[in-house]
């Protein structure tokens, strides 16, 4: 899923300092699962902001709303009747949701309350580890299901580099060396031949904004219809 972390309260306070009435919009999907931007977190942040502003003698009214997915028009439509009374919108969704919210209500300032940090797995409650950089050309088939683009600090395609340190990455003893793990897994599977081959320079797929239209859906996109 997409994971994010909340911005420091001081940064959020700075963003809302000019406003008295802001609608904070949570998202019920990824950021809700990763405990940062769901309904509960919206209420907590609102309470913090209202309290802080009250103490400054400059009260702010924080509205709360949560939609199932901010990356989906049909759910954002639920907000159409609500936003009018607010000076600005705050979003606790990932960067995708925040932008779609801003696109839906182009007259309203939209403020991010979280920093999106990546595509991650749930290792334990509240503990997430990045696994994918959505590079657009997956190599997992020949790297033993371990992503060097994400998990090697240098993103090497022909690792490991000379900095492997007892199975750890040179940047941090706590960070496993991706290529050491790739080696171990492929060795265990008897598939080391896969990485004995030289892998040529990558054709990066993520250097332009990407639009994806699944086969068979080209027509629907062409009509550009909005709900």
């Amino acid at each position: 899923m997409i994971v994010a972390k909340r911005k420091p309260i001081e940064e959020i306070k700075e963003m809302v300092k000019g406003y008295q009435k802001v609608l904070n919009v949570g998202c019920g999907t990824c950021v809700s699962v990763c405990l940062v931007g769901g309904e509960k977190e919206v209420n907590i942040l609102n309470a913090e902001l209202e309290m802080a502003r009250k103490m400054e003698d400059n009260p702010i009214e924080m509205g709360a709303a949560s939609v199932e997915r901010q990356c989906d028009r049909e759910f954002l439509a639920e907000l159409d009747d609500k936003v009018g009374e607010y000076e600005a919108l705050m979003s606790m969704a990932c960067g995708v949701g925040i932008q779609f919210l801003a696109e839906r209500f182009p007259d309203k300032p939209v403020l991010p309350a979280v920093d999106t940090t990546g595509l991650a797995v749930n290792q334990d409650v509240g503990w997430y580890e990045e696994r994918c950089r959505s590079c657009g050309s997956c190599v997992l088939g020949w790297t033993g299901g371990i992503c060097p683009v994400t998990l090697c600090a240098k993103g090497l395609y022909n690792g490991p580099c000379g900095g492997t340190n007892n199975g750890s990455c040179e940047i941090d003893p706590e960070q496993p060396c991706a290529w050491f793990k790739i080696y171990e897994r492929l060795a265990g599977q008897g598939r080391l031949d896969l990485i004995k081959e030289f892998h040529p320079a990558n054709a990066w797929q993520d250097q332009v904004p990407r639009t994806l239209i699944q086969p068979g859906y080209e027509k629907a996109e062409a009509t550009g219809q909005k709900t």
Binding site: K154, Y157, G162, G163, E170, I171
Partner: protein
Amino acid sequence: MEKVLKKGHFAFTGELGPPRGANAEEVRKKAAFLKGNVDSVNITDNQTAMVRMSSWASCLLLIQEGLEPNYQMVCRDRNRLAMQSDILGAYALGIRNILCLSGDHCKFGDHPQAKGVFDIDSMQLIAMVKKMRDEGQFLSGGELDEAPKMFIGAAANPFADPFEWRVYRLAKKVSAGVDFIQTQCIYNMEKFRQYMKQANDMGLTEKVFILAGVTPMKSVGMAKYMKNKVPGMDVPDEIIKRLQGVEKKKQAEEGIKIAVEQIEEFKEMKGVAGVHLMAIEWEHKVPQIAEMAKVLPRPKLE
């Protein structure tokens, strides 16, 4: 250096770190200690991710002083466009050797928040330079006007884990097109002997010149630091004990003695084509080490 190796002489190369500033005199001063004592001098490229005078510019200063530089290039700071244009420029200005490296992660340096480029990795850089040289083409396949006839080098660390895999990674560099290898600093001679045996058995030493990396220890403190703090470095306890066995003032001398003994062994070791001496901030000791290791005079080849 290419001629020295190809004629079968035991090569002896040195290293020079450019200054943290625009001080050309500093480069010339260090170069003076190396002149006549080594076949070529590696010029580091923002080593340990600290900004320094650019490698190619320092290479030019060396050429002006009558030395042969070995242009180090890391993948951390440039994308494939910048790398190829720098290679063309370097060759046009007389640089003939290039060492292809991944580069230390930015985290170690003076700009830890910088974006590491790593558009291509060191292996792909080797293949790119080879393509430019042998096929007269850019990485994209486009024709280039006059190929840079670089002598292509790379590094190898025989000691980082997984040890069993290291010789295969060397083999990959050979298949990518490398002409010479300079290894990480060697302290664990037993492990290096094993590595070289594997390389000989796999026929790699017939395809690539391997220069054994040597860095003399200046003190017990340095040896402990290398052992405990430098990733991928293998410093056996015997080295530390031997340095501890002499009084503090004589530790540097003992370090040099160890290095000289190593060089003597490398001269006899099957598959080792030379030594790469990395006397870090110790360039003034190079003449003495070269003398003691009996690698002088250096062959003069036209």
